[in-house]
């Protein structure tokens, strides 16, 4: 086990990096850069999970978030040509309002944290087999088990797979009852001209 001093240094170093990368992810004008910030932030969050003795979750985080979600986001950015069209800066009023709102939320949350007394307890297990515990809990039919939520979430994944395929499908096959029409309806929509210069960023219609 690492010493307390190393733990402190690791915590504050990782936290600062994660916060900076998250700020990059919400502020970067180029969406691909923002996706890169998101990827770094999620990967370093896996380090935070390791520090919390959740090694299995760290692996899941890397596999699902970094390997799956970020790749999907990058694909979507490229499919919608958002990487060519620079995201314009939000209006000043929007930014001020958003910053005020989120900082107020943070202050209220920190105040609530500071005035709450949590009953902390130390672990009594010397060595913990986390993967075994998670597996047993997920398939436990008892009162404290998670078998029903486990089945429900697998159903949710199935629905997400089918729904994503149906909604994003390009051309619907014949006799397909559930479809949004795909490209057949969008054929009349002319694609906007490719913009090369900075003058033609997505203009606001608001």
């Amino acid at each position: 086990m690492i010493s307390d001093a190393t733990y402190t240094v690791m915590f504050y170093g990782l936290s600062a990096t994660v916060i900076l990368l998250a700020l990059l992810a919400v502020n970067a004008r180029q969406l691909l850069r923002a996706a890169l910030g998101l990827m770094g932030m999620l990967a370093l969050s896996a380090g935070l999970y390791v520090m919390l003795r959740a090694e299995f979750l760290a692996g899941v985080q890397i596999l699902v978030y970094v390997g799956g979600i970020v790749v999907l986001i990058v694909f979507a950015i490229m499919l919608t040509r958002s990487s060519e069209l620079l995201e314009d800066h939000p209006a000043k009023l929007t930014r001020i309002l958003g910053a005020t709102f989120s900082i107020m939320f943070m202050l209220i949350a920190c105040y609530a944290l500071g005035t709450t007394k949590f009953t902390e307890s130390e672990s009594t297990q010397a060595v913990r087999d986390e993967v075994r515990d998670i597996g047993l809990a997920l398939l436990d039919r008892g009162a404290n088990g998670y078998l029903l939520p486990f089945e429900a979430i697998s159903l949710l994944l199935l629905v997400a797979v089918i729904g994503g395929t149906v909604v994003a499908r390009k051309t619907p096959p014949k006799h397909q009852p559930f479809t949004t029409g795909g490209d057949l309806r969008g054929e009349t929509v002319a694609h906007p001209p490719l913009v090369q210069d900075d003058e033609h960023v997505v203009e606001s219609k608001s």
Partner: protein, 110 residues
């Protein structure tokens, strides 16, 4: 130096503050971004902060249980499902309207 650093070892409150800061950053992105994909990215940050929160409570309040980890796994799965459907909707909206600006999305019917 080592003793000084050891005295500032992060406890429950420091971890929860980190989660609150991350959540607030995600909220800021959610409120200010106009590209639908960027908004989904901000939502991912918020979901990540929430999952981290569950693990932090599991570590410090009930270290012998596993419920916080299960909750985090469910949050991660839900985030994956949400991003799949969200991206499908964004891509088909882009096909239909050639734009992913949420300020222009004001009708339910194309």
């Amino acid at each position: 130096m080592t003793e000084l650093l050891a005295r500032f070892a992060p406890g429950l409150h420091e971890w929860l503050t980190l989660c609150a800061v991350l959540y607030a950053i995600g909220l800021y992105g959610l409120l200010t971004r106009r590209n639908a994909i960027a908004i989904l990215m901000a939502v991912e940050i918020m979901l990540n902060a929430a999952a981290l929160n569950a693990v932090v409570f599991n570590r410090f309040v009930t270290p012998n249980e596993i419920d916080g980890h299960i909750m985090a796994i469910f949050v991660i799965v839900m985030a994956a499902a949400e991003i799949v459907v969200g991206m499908a909707i964004v891509v088909s909206l882009y096909r239909l309207r050639a734009s992913v600006d949420v300020n222009q999305m004001n009708s339910m019917k194309g």
